[in-house]
Symmetry: C2
Subunit: 126 residues, 2 copies
């Protein structure tokens, strides 16, 4: 598995990692059940921080592209290929767009929309 990370790319490092792994899955370079490098090892290989790799892995597991089996390591999810094409962000983008469009049509200022957004996001921690 070859992974290339470009520090100068505007795309965040963790996002690049996610993209590379998803692409590897789609190209059958990574097959369900295959083992992935440990967080620390991959971070060392790519000269990244553990936290950065851990973040990528966390997001990939949430999307069911990979599967972490505790202390035994991390593996490619059985349905990885299908889940690599699913873009959760697309649905979020659509839904968010509808909501904001409704606000704007009601005459709500962009400024007020931003304030409301900030309030809601801060009212409950992640």
């Amino acid at each position: 598995m070859e992974i290339i990370i470009d520090i100068d790319d505007s795309v965040p490092l963790f996002a690049q990692l996610i993209g590379q792994i998803k692409k590897a899955v789609l190209c059958d370079k990574l097959r369900p059940g295959d083992g992935l490098p440990s967080i620390r090892q991959l971070a060392n290989d790519l000269n990244l921080n553990n936290k950065t790799v851990a973040k990528a892995y966390r997001l990939l597991e949430r999307d069911s592209v990979i599967q972490t089996k505790g202390y035994r390591g991390t593996f490619v999810h059985p349905d990885a290929k299908a889940n690599s094409t699913v873009d959760l962000n697309a649905w979020v983008l659509t839904k968010m767009g509808e909501t904001i469009a409704a606000f704007r049509e009601s005459g709500v200022t962009d400024s007020e929309i931003r304030i409301a957004f900030g309030d809601v996001m801060n009212r409950r921690g992640n």
Copy 2:
């Protein structure tokens, strides 16, 4: 009509102005048809910038609390009292809260929500 603006208050100046005028309407210190000071004059009286007062007036007119009659000045809206209690932001806050709650329950990261929000807001200027 007495208006008190506190520079050291964390509440934005234009928001303070809006609040004061709405309160004056609710207390019958301002009645429908009453004339309001011109933007420039009020800005001068309160030691504010024209733009700040203009912004407050613009928002107040959007909410039908006041009515600008071109070059003849600005007046209190006939339904000002009713419209002063209506809080557009409340509806925005609720709707926004529902949308974000749906995202969170789907496992979407706060980070991703913010990115989607930023994308949508920037995709179409106000």
